[in-house]
């Protein structure tokens, strides 16, 4: 036995990190890159098959690049599109880590955005440094409560979260429609479903307006970075995150270790909901300035793919969110420049997900790129 406070040589060796299992360069970088490349290749085949000429295919991929990374405006658009996806996906990733399949981000985004809009137009004469944080907070709380309902239902009754969150999504969509058609949310004098506008004091300020006032990238991207750091810290540096991960990896062992699964479920869902709610707030306070039906643009659903793609790791989610943001921004350019249908962009996105979700597919298609054999 060694003396307390000191470690002998052998123990010291045990503290050396060998090859870290958490980060496998092939798995984390090479496979995703190849998946994108293969998705683009298949996308080209699809375009050719639908009668798009070879030059137009070439043009459209050039447009995809210039529209997402080719100029400062393109980068700004990519970041703007990436922000809500990444925020919502961080919440979903948190759920995955804890073994929960939260399909409800869409509803949480909608209600979070709605709450942020209400606070954004209702609090008049409030200085921005109070108004903006309050509006963001309202979004986070609304999302947390909405997701918390699903968490509580699971903890208390065992109702499966996939079912409850899908139902809560439907309720949220209708609820938002109802609110948008009725005072006090509806914009006075309008017959169509649209909310009052967010006051300037609650808007997320644009970051690059000193270069060009039309650059839409806003302070929400800082929120995203903070959220990535927060989720990383929560998962890997806190007792709460330890419990989340334990419950997700082996619920029996978590119970044996004295962890309270009901409590963990509610906490995970509420945190995930808060992040999704922030995504909604981010959209209305940073981009749209008000709410209208479907203002989320399906971000809550796309975020599921982003979370999967990011392997439920906060950094991975950030990278996946940026990729999706780039595909969205570049996709618009593709449509404008090369006249390719926006549906094809969706197909390419879907192809990326298929290849990412099945790393073995990438390995099997081009095995010679990899060091390791797929099997033994």
């Amino acid at each position: 036995m060694s003396e307390p406070g000191k470690l002998d040589g052998f123990s010291q060796d045990l503290l050396k990190r060998a090859v870290s299992d958490r980060f496998d360069a092939e798995e984390m970088i090479l496979v995703p890159l190849l998946a994108v490349a293969m998705a683009l290749a298949f996308g080209a085949i699809v375009m050719l098959a639908t009668g798009v000429s070879l030059t137009a295919v070439g043009q459209s991929y050039v447009a995809l690049f210039t529209g997402s990374l080719g100029s400062i405006n393109a980068v700004s658009e990519t970041l703007t599109a990436a922000a809500p996806l990444t925020l919502a996906a961080l919440g979903i990733a948190l759920g995955f880590r804890a073994g929960l399949f939260n399909i409800g981000a869409e509803g949480q985004v909608l209600l979070g955005g709605m709450a942020a809009v209400v606070v954004g137009f209702a609090l008049t004469d409030t200085p921005a440094w109070i108004h903006l944080p309050l509006a963001l907070l309202a979004g986070a709380i609304a999302g947390a409560i909405w997701a918390g309902i699903a968490g509580w239902l699971k903890a208390a009754t065992g109702a499966h979260e996939v079912i409850t969150t899908i139902m809560l999504n439907l309720i949220a969509m209708r609820l938002v429609d109802y609110l948008l058609r009725n005072p006090p949310v509806q914009k006075p004098g309008r017959a169509d479903p649209i909310s009052q506008s967010v006051l300037p004091s609650a808007e997320l300020p644009r970051l690059l307006s000193f270069i060009d006032p039309n650059l839409r990238v806003h302070a929400g991207i800082l929120l995203v970075i903070a959220a990535v750091l927060f989720v990383y810290w929560l998962l890997f540096r806190t007792t709460t995150g330890f419990e989340f991960r334990a419950a997700g990896s082996n619920p029996d062992a978590a119970r044996y270790a004295g962890m309270k699964s009901g409590m963990i479920i509610v906490l995970v869902m509420a945190t995930a909901g808060a992040l999704a709610g922030l995504a909604g707030a981010n959209q209305v306070l940073g981009v749209l300035g008000r709410a209208s039906p479907g203002f989320s643009g399906g971000a809550g659903f796309d975020a599921i793919a982003v979370a999967l793609l990011g392997r439920s790791h906060p950094v991975g989610v950030l990278l996946a969110g940026l990729l999706f943001g780039a595909l969205q921004a570049g996709g618009r350019e593709m449509q404008v420049e090369a006249g390719v249908s926006i549906d094809l962009i969706a197909i390419i996105q879907a192809l990326v997900i298929v290849f990412m979700a099945a790393p073995t597919l990438v390995r099997a298609t081009i095995p010679w790129v990899f060091r390791k054999e797929a099997g033994r």
Partner: protein, 501 residues
Amino acid sequence: MDIELRGITKRFGPVVANSDVNLTIRAGEILGLLGENGAGKTTLMNVLSGLYRPDEGEILIDGKPTRFEGAGDAIRAGIGMVHQHFMLVPVFTVAENVVLGVEPTGRLDHLDIATAREQVRAIGAEHGLVVDPDAIIEEVPVGVQQRVEIIKVLFRSADVLIFDEPTAVLTPQEVEDFFGIIRSLRDAGKALVFITHKLFEILEVADRISVLRGGKIVGEGDPKTATEAELAEMMVGRPVSFTVDKKPAVPRRPMIEVRNLKVMNDRHEVAVNDVSFAVRAGEVVGIAGVQGNGQTELVEALTGLRSAIAGSVVFHDEDITHASARHRHKLGMAHVPEDRQREGLIETFTLAENMVLDSYYDEPYSTGIRMHWPKVETEAARIITDFDVRTSSVFELADHLSGGNQQKLVVAREMSRDIQVLIASQPTRGVDVGSIEYIHKRIIAARDAEVGVLIVSTELDEIRALSDRVLVMYRGRVVAEFDAAAATVAELGLAMAGATA
């Protein structure tokens, strides 16, 4: 059919699992393959059954060099493997499981289950493997499931049968039956390989013994002349002691008192019925019994994982009948669970993370919600060294450890804090001889440090070696109590079978 393995070497990256292994398997003979966990037994057999391709060396069947490209080739060549974990469909019948994949079919692909049933009966009758072809797998005991696995292999016309740790899941009576079966298979001219780390079994049933250590064949033994001590030394590489050295117990005040405890199982049947006993500081109480007689539920009730419907559990003077697992842990109760992989460990977590699985929530490992990982890692390194868990780093994942090392990790975690009561279920299940010796030593050391110890085991040898008092559970009740020093195996065995003394 005779098989010869010549110079087999199998590497996984830098790890050499088998190194230049030579082995012959002969028809009408039982070859005992002995080795510690991680010695390379399973890798070697996976090479033989076509799952792995060797990096060097060759396999000769009746003198002819043969190459297996996959498990199918080995099966066609007549080599069948009975795995440690059965590969059966629980909701199918015995006959359906046996023919799965090679079903006898009639016209229009009609499944001819009547023929299958007959074939199962015929194979069963030939080798003394009595099973009802229409029984549903999940409803028959483990011993019968194993027979189904054997019939499955025979149905595929195997001449060579490989058994990977076949007795690990069996009761003592089922082990006897199993030995009868493999002897009859041998007499029918089959070649058998019996992989185990249990010495007395290999001495009883094998015709020839090969010992594997560190991926190499380190010796051969003749079961007629070899002793357990010789084989153990070959297997571990140093002399091993089988008896647990212990002074007479000095029991003090009761640490845990169980009074009229009644517990239900998952199927809402009474599993523990009116059980009362006490565990005192400084003694080891052993609970013997055939698996499934309420031991699991009893331990879960004691450790706060299952609620009791009547009776009480008192710890010192505190009634903890309804206390949480966490509260009991804080009081100084340690629990080595029955199934380390399901409950005791998180296989995708690092060793350091597993080391604090149930103590992460408090100083010194965390303050508030902040984890102090460097502190966790140094402590884990110390405990791992102290308990001789074989690994290269505390950042290794738990599923990279061999079964024996996983068990040591759990035992180390539970015993390395200041504890008052230790409740250990099957503390050495699936653990090799060297590690058993070590774990036993630590348990006795805890007893001598005035910890109250409760051991639940289906291994009578273990119960007798460790315990000061033995309680026998049968159908949820404690049916007998023995002074461990005086009790004979026969007496204990009778009580376990429910015969009232």
